[in-house]
Amino acid sequence: MQASDFVFALRQVSAKNTVMVYENFSSIKPLQIEPGKILNNRYGQFHHEALIKDISSKVLDLKGQSFIRCLSPTPELWTKALHMRTQILYRPDISMIVGSLNIKPGSIVIEAGTGSASLSMALIRALVPSGKLFTFEFNETRAQQAKDEFESLGLSPNVVSEHRDVIEKGLKHEGYTSVNAIFLDLPNPWELVKEAYEVLAPSGTLCTFSPCIEQVQRNCEAMEKHGFGYIRTIETLSRPLTIKKTEQKLGIYHDAPEERLHTGYLTFAHK
């Protein structure tokens, strides 16, 4: 794999590549480039070729009246733009998960469930080119949607995306003998803790994400019981800030209406 093959690398955009059409902070949409085609949106009409000529520059519409910009895809922009099939994970939790699981190029990772594939993209970014993500989703439609998305972004070499109920079928898979990291975002992750321990390589890490404290207690109990060490439960948030300027000074404020005060509890356990 080269940089030119990787959707999240800052590369020369060509036909069949995906770009992110940036209308404003809250309006970002993915677009697959097709030469000869025209993008039609509320800002006007734009030739696909014009959109990718100079990435991030203003591109005028055919009438020369308004403009949009195209940006190179990142998992963060993707999370913003994606079609939400389930409650998704946001960037502060995603950062903590990818970082604390120590995902690096070459890592082999299990994720269950795939959901809307928001975290999946960040996991894949961290493990390419030699690593692999095995992601399982128990809803058949969502599993197929995720698989199609990975395919359209050229990520198939680094992800195995399957329809599977891991509570029923378990975590063992012909694609690996052991893995470096396991992430579980399910209603009842404690039921998989024993098998997670078996599937993890030595010094591997398990992470559970649970919205409710009762779930956390059951997760931790199972982790202790089945031999995990250094078990930590944390919550992490981004507190948005904003500014207000007068001639005399710059005021800095918490952006209270925009604050998300709880997402879930992350528990990390080590083998």
Partner: protein, 326 residues
């Protein structure tokens, strides 16, 4: 020789080389025989020994309270001299039994309070510890705990790696005031050149914890700000305070649609950068935020956030965005 993080239970957290003798609490332990990550050990006869599981076995309705309990430091009848003697001659486990027997208040404590008392005594007298891997996050937190003004917490570091879009194909420009925590983390992840522009009394002592030596890492180069000729995919500027000028100078070296993150421990500096970026309109998807994290104690009937956190809850202030060509 590889580095690890020694975490004394209820005590210090330090980066040490995992060979030979190491000081844990008041005792010396010899690690040459090897040690497993993440397991809890006690020090016995100068050697590490696996400690029994720390799982809480206490359950049921709470029995006892502090109605008649008064702490005037006279509950324990063994004096300091006796304690040290028993520990030396008979070992930590025997000492703990003796402390319980010689305490006039132990029996009236609730079962949870008793467990907490025992845990504290075990941590101290058995010198309980564990060894953590020297991962980017553990290196960051350990250095931050010991010197917060020159460090960066793992939560901020992880958000930086995400927001700067660091991956195997990222060419990265870095200003790293932490002595190499950010540099090391980026080098672990990227295969492309990483340029460091931090020049103010630069120290790169943290690189060794990652197993990185500058001399044998051609990927890593140090440059003066004015001599940068290349263009980068990602830019990370981390300074305790006051990075606006550097940002203004370096922005032209970031490619269009390149990702940048500024880290500051000082909210005013961060606000000024955010103000400049928004006024000049140089970036998209601009976020100004504080990263906030807290830990929990999870025990049966005793689950609550930690009351004390050596690292505090604030990870620092970040301003991030995507560069626009104008």
């Amino acid at each position: 020789m590889s580095w690890g993080v020694i975490q004394e239970l209820g005590g210090k957290q330090l980066l040490v080389q995992l060979k030979g003798k190491v000081k844990i609490g008041k005792q010396i332990v010899n690690l040459s025989g090897g040690i497993e990550y993440y397991k809890v050990y006690k020090v016995q006869g100068g050697l590490p020994q696996l400690a029994t599981s720390e799982m809480s076995s206490v359950e049921g309705p709470v029995v006892g309270n502090n109605k008649d309990y008064f702490d005037d430091n006279t509950a324990q009848s063994l004096d300091q001299e006796a304690i040290l003697k028993i520990r030396e001659q008979q070992g930590g486990d025997v000492l703990i039994d003796q402390l319980v027997q010689n305490s006039s208040t132990f029996a009236m404590k609730t079962q949870f309070s008793q467990e907490k008392y025992l845990k504290k005594k075990k941590n101290k007298h058995l010198s309980l510890f564990r060894v953590l891997q020297a991962t980017a996050g553990n290196i960051a937190d350990t250095l931050y705990i010991n010197k917060p003004t020159r460090g960066i917490k793992s939560d901020a570091l992880f958000n930086i790696l995400t927001l700067a879009n660091i991956h195997y194909f990222s060419k990265v420009l870095v200003n790293d005031f932490t002595g190499g925590v950010i540099l090391g983390s980026v080098l672990e992840r990227s295969s492309l050149p990483v340029t460091n522009i931090y020049t103010d009394k630069f120290k790169d002592h943290a690189l060794k914890y990652f197993g990185i030596a500058k001399k044998t890492t051609p990927q890593l180069e140090y440059r003066q700000i004015d001599s940068i000729t290349d263009f980068y995919d990602s830019m990370i500027l981390a300074e305790k305070s006051g990075i606006l000028e550097t940002f203004q100078k370096m922005l032209s070296k970031l490619k269009g649609s390149g990702t940048f993150v500024m880290y500051s421990q000082d909210i005013v500096s961060a606000g000024e950068i955010y103000d400049w970026i928004m006024t000049e309109g140089v970036a998209a998807n601009v976020i100004f935020e504080e990263i906030w994290t807290r830990e929990f104690q999870v025990l049966p009937q005793r689950t609550h956030p930690d009351m004390k956190l050596r690292t505090g809850t604030s990870g620092g202030y970040l301003v991030s965005g995507i560069k626009l060509h104008n």
